[in-house]
Amino acid sequence: MPRSITELENIASQIRRDILRQVHSCSSGHPGGSLGCADYFTALYFHVMDHNTDFSMDGKGEDVFYLSNGHISPVFYSALARSGYFPVDELATFRKINSRLQGHPTTHEGLPGVRVATGSLGQGLSVAIGMALGKKLNNDDKTVYVLTGDGELQEGQIWEAALFAAHNKVDNLIVTVDSNGRQIDGDTEDVMSLGSLEDKWTSFGWEVLHMEGNNMEAVLNGLEAAKKKSGNGKPVIIIMNTEMGYPIDFMMGTHKWHGVAPNDEQLENALGQLEETLGDYKI
């Protein structure tokens, strides 16, 4: 039974609480981009992807997801835990010693749901293409999803991957760019302008779509539209507009919360803006 938009919004609210509590608990991590992508992760893991929480590394016969911008691990971990890959209470170990929830995602500690280490930017898209090629060789018709940051597109390897995927018609791949316009040192426009992403990806031979990333209905529709475009000889990319820090009032409109954790007072303020829908994990 597919979940309603209201149900998905409730899950996203809980995931956002998890994000804030994770980074607060260890006084480190990246809440801004994580909050902005909570709706996308909720849509993927609770509605769009055909996936198995009884994790198998090869992902045969299921849709798989890669997080290329590994620093937004809090949202990834919460989506994995809340969808059943590992116990929700394990979120309390985020970035702490002896944890499977490393600062950036890794396969090294055996956390279910993670298929490659990411953190050093620009690599996840290439890995996802490799997985998509593998699926074709295995006659597996499922889809590979991958999320990249927009600042991450400054990495040269992204454009190597873009050329390869178009040239080789890797059309079982749906890339989403978290286009929040911000990176550590400031606005992408000021740090190093990306110009028109639509023009760039179109000229590289990709099918380019747009979606609003902080509206659940728009995210569901956008991912559905991308699914319809896949399988037609072109890789698909969705340029997803998000607001870093959404919807916490004092975290939006700035790049300041890219990689800073809230203090006790800020956490209380932020949690007051998000309904606890599924119960907070225990600390």
Binding site: M57, S120, Q123, G130, M131, K135, F164, N168
Partner: protein, 317 residues
Amino acid sequence: MFDDYQVTGKKGTRDGFGAGMAELGRANDQVVALCADLIGSLKIQKFIEENPSRFFQAGIAEANMMSMAAGLATAGKIPFATTFANFATGRVYDQIRQSIAYSDKNVKICASHAGLTLGEDGATHQILEDIGLMKMLPHMTVINPCDYNQTKEATLAIAKHHGPVYLRFGRPGWPIFMPEGKFEIGKAITMKEGSDVTILATGHMVYYAMEATKDLESKGISVELINIHTIKPLDNEAILKSLAKTKCVVTCEEHQRNGGLGDSVAQLMSMNSPTPQEFIAVNDSFGESGKPDQLLEKYGLGISDIITAAERVVKRK
């Protein structure tokens, strides 16, 4: 003296790789290959011709190639990612470190044109740091075979070994002397027993070490020659056993002294039984254009250098 190791011909170690790949293509349908615009140099035409759907031309984009190999491995394939050694290691170190080694992916990084002996292309292409770069990575197996036959056998063996591997070979035609059936990952091959000095050689230098051994024996110095095709994991047992007997060693490699086989051997000895050692390796220098034998001579890797080093180390006991 080397009855089991008679020279039967001359071919590049890269040709051995190509022959191994052709055989693997027929024997194991999970093996896939990637190459960054160097198919002819890597000698993998046969594999591609027979298995077109299992080959991926990555273009001149090595970073993407290495990370794609990690994705293919995750899907259950056994990817062989191939290019020149310089572009297979230094250029893509972070991709190998994060997407392959740290992520424990079953990727085989296969690198031709390693060392000085690629010759005329010069120092931009003559990587002499690749063994060090790769052996420092946790999980990585590092193999540097010595001739056509050993490279072919190593290529077949790494497909059966689960985990990331760096397989290093070279460009020039080189004497073929290894009998088949001797290769086992991590197991050194004692080619000749002796009592005065141990020579540990890897890659192309094994042949030079054989030639040096003949000369040393004629001068009354008894040499134990060991073929170290696997630099990581090093066959500690075989090396320590030999050194307990000869009590001195010469290490020979087509690589920087820093970070190579000699380094690994020195570390092993310092933790067990400190022993006089001489290094035949490039000493903190880049290479240059020239013929392979001229370059080996100029950079202190000639047969005469091995002889001199052995004579010197015996006196240091």
